[in-house]
Symmetry: C2
């Protein structure tokens, strides 16, 4: 790469650069700064203006920075600096960040943020305020890191009625699921490894219990369907209960287990759910491994489209921050009423489609249990399922398993589509059988069929 | 999908709809029209305005349309209609379309086009004229159909120095390569099948010889590197010489053959090439099958990102046409100098980086030949390769093959990276060996490694 890029156009010297102030200078702040310095020419060739970070508000001003900027512990100094055009919120959290962004909007500054929790929880209010004040809040880095998936849905698929989307939107979770399959390791040992590698936090709850994915899913669902952000209505189930056995049985059945965020337009409203999911191993998204993210979007006109890339990391997320900065620069002169709406749909055209209760959602299921190796056990199980309107696509009875007392056999079943409420009822009844020697584990199955 | 979308905001009734005129009403024109009618509410909820097709210029006005529009055989009527805001060129070809688009620009109308050949050949001139006149030419449907990959590169990756991109950007070619692998069929029988299915034209040259892919690649390369369109400098090689044996040997070596368009920033300038390519079968893009398209883009900050979807078809391409219409609507009020530049970089910041000659490009190669089953043959082959500075990663000598006269054995080799000129020299020398009983076939190999 020793090729010289040409100088940005000569006129640029005459144009005042766009000045950015950072709130927070951690991993993403540093990544953003590094990119703006290293690719300064390339970015100016595109944006028509130079983009410069003037200062950053941090907790400790003694830290190193990627280049010459002012560090301050006074966040107000950044927000009230009249030279600063755009505020970049990269500090995380939902309290201080919320109040600072609000102040920034009220001061007439545009905002770029990587903060998914903040958008998921306070987005409705902040977008409304920003709309009122004629400023932009850009948040591409908040979902799927460097993948321009917000732009794709919000601008690239505007011709479509979006039917559903399914995403691997948490890299930690996907790393764990991938390692469990590739290495045959169990959840807790892979989690430890992920923590050692820095892919998982010391307290991994947000990632492995699906809360982070739920934040992102609620954002994607709003963009896809034109509904207000409703994080609190996302059904969320983590991956900590997935066992090595489930991973192996899924493979044997031609499936892979992924932790997916799914948003779907159904007859009863909008489904929003984050849970481990068996998907056919031939699907492209089933082959998205390690910490990578991918979002599969099904539009009625375009069919399925998929967006893949790094969902986290200093420069991958920084890439999305810079893209948003350039977007804001390019839109500065546009009539605010004609800008791309924050949630893809015009604020006065948002829909109040109901969000489905998980009990009313129908999917297929993978069910695993241990049953006594006795005559009639399978008949009992299938009768209960049948009585509850559940038909089976396949049933596998494995080799006998020596447990401490009795001889048990693992039974693995795939059901046809059934409402969750029905399945729960059937599982309750199954649990009363004295011939079932274990908990009854179930994982949802999605074919992600696109036609 | 019996859920009602809400009405677009009430104010919309007061806003004049955006009026579109079509040049051409074939597959894509009809698809676009169908989408605009079916998703009218959803589109207006996003764009803030209704988008309506008023009329279409066609060769024969007796044809059916998807809804109420005027058909005319007089293209001028569309261009000079003062009620029409945006001209959609969906007629194809590079002569009449070129002159009509020019007239549209001169009349101050914005243009949306799906015409890759036109953009690849006349884009530099047309963009310059459009820039002068302050109008937009949008061309998302010209590359990879419904996948918003132009938007991704032009707007989503603006923070990156793009290092390379590799795309499956011709659905016909990918269908053929997929069927050859899945069904074990040979090129000509799969081509016939593709023609019967309507995936390939009666004269398939544009698709199977890579010309269509080269049009698209030259566009992607300009967007990625900020260089003028230089279609004539794309090295182009088709898939018609790929045999069933190559497909099988590639699989055996852990590779898959895909017809790729590759653009790469190298030390000598920019590489632009379309050719069959062996890629490791575990890469996500190696698993893009059938008529689907995908573009893998490697940015220095974001790393690899991939965009996947339908590359052709009435509504998939129509989806991109509508997205461009909405983009134009959203940008109407912006200062023309601040719009997203046609070729991603500011027109006065385009670079004159040289385009590499194919002889100067280094890749690894797959080589296949038939050699006499005699002592010393492999030694002769490897000596010639070695003398030309070519080292082998692997060599497979297969079981003997009964040919009419002598006994020959297929020899399959994978080389390390070598300049094309060196390889050509070696192949010339190999061809003089009397112990080589066949043509010497070679296919480039790319690892598409992303770190």
């Amino acid at each position: 790469m020793n090729q010289q890029s040409p100088q940005p156009d000569v006129n640029n010297n005459a144009i005042k650069p766009i000045v950015v102030g950072l709130l927070g200078y951690g991993t993403v702040g540093r990544g953003t700064h590094t990119i703006l310095l290293r690719n300064a020419k390339e970015i100016a060739r595109r944006a028509g203006r130079h983009i410069e970070i003037k200062s950053a508000a941090v907790r400790n001003t003694k830290r190193d920075t990627a280049g010459p900027i002012n560090l301050t512990t006074d966040h107000q100094e950044i927000i009230s600096d009249p030279e600063i055009d755009i505020i970049c919120e990269l500090m995380g959290g939902t309290e201080q960040a919320y109040s600072l962004i609000k102040q920034a909007i009220l001061s007439g500054k545009h905002v770029v943020t990587a903060n998914k929790a903040l958008i998921a929880i306070h987005g409705n209010e902040l977008f409304s305020l920003a709309h009122e004040r004629g400023v932009m809040i850009a948040f591409e880095p908040a979902v799927a890191g460097g993948i321009p998936v917000i732009k794709a849905i919000r601008e690239g698929l505007t011709g479509n009625t979006i039917e559903w989307l399914a995403g691997i939107i948490n890299g930690t979770g996907n790393f764990i699921m991938t390692e469990m399959r590739d290495k045959g390791a169990d959840f807790s040992s892979v989690l430890e490894q992920a923590q050692a590698l820095g892919y998982a936090e010391a307290d991994p709850t947000f990632d492995v219990e699906g809360i982070d994915a739920a934040h992102k899913l609620s954002i994607l669902a709003s963009l896809a369907f034109g509904i207000p952000l409703q994080f609190e209505k996302v059904y969320t189930e983590g991956i900590s209960r997935i066992s090595q056995e489930d991973v192996l049985y899924a493979e044997e059945l031609g499936y892979r287990i992924k932790h997916l965020g799914i948003a779907k337009r159904s007859n009863n409203g909008i489904e929003m759910r984050v849970h481990p999911t068996l998907i056919p191993h031939r699907r492209l998204i089933a082959n998205v491994d390690g910490v990578m993210n991918a979002v599969l979007v099904k539009g009625d006109a375009v069919g399925p489209t998929l967006y893949y890339g790094a969902g986290a990391g200093a420069e991958a997320t920084g890439s999305a921050v810079v893209a948003d900065l350039v977007d804001v620069v390019r839109t500065l002169t546009a009539d605010p009423e004609h800008r791309v709406p924050h949630l893809a749909f015009q604020p006065d055209a948002l829909s109040d489609l109901p969000i489905c209760n998980i009990e009313d959602i129908a999917t297929s299921y993978y069910i695993r249990l241990l049953a006594s190796d006795e005559v009639g056990v399978l008949a009992d199980i299938t009768r209960i399922l049948c009585d509850n309107g559940i038909s089976l696509e396949s049933i596998i009875q494995k080799e006998a398993h020596q447990t401490s007392v009795t001889q048990s056999v693992p039974v693995v079943m795939l059901t046809h589509e059934v409402k969750e409420a029905q399945l729960n009822k059937a599982i309750k009844q199954l649990a009363t059988l004295t011939t079932i020697d274990s908990n009854i584990y179930r994982i949802r199955v999605e074919t992600l069929a696109t036609n």
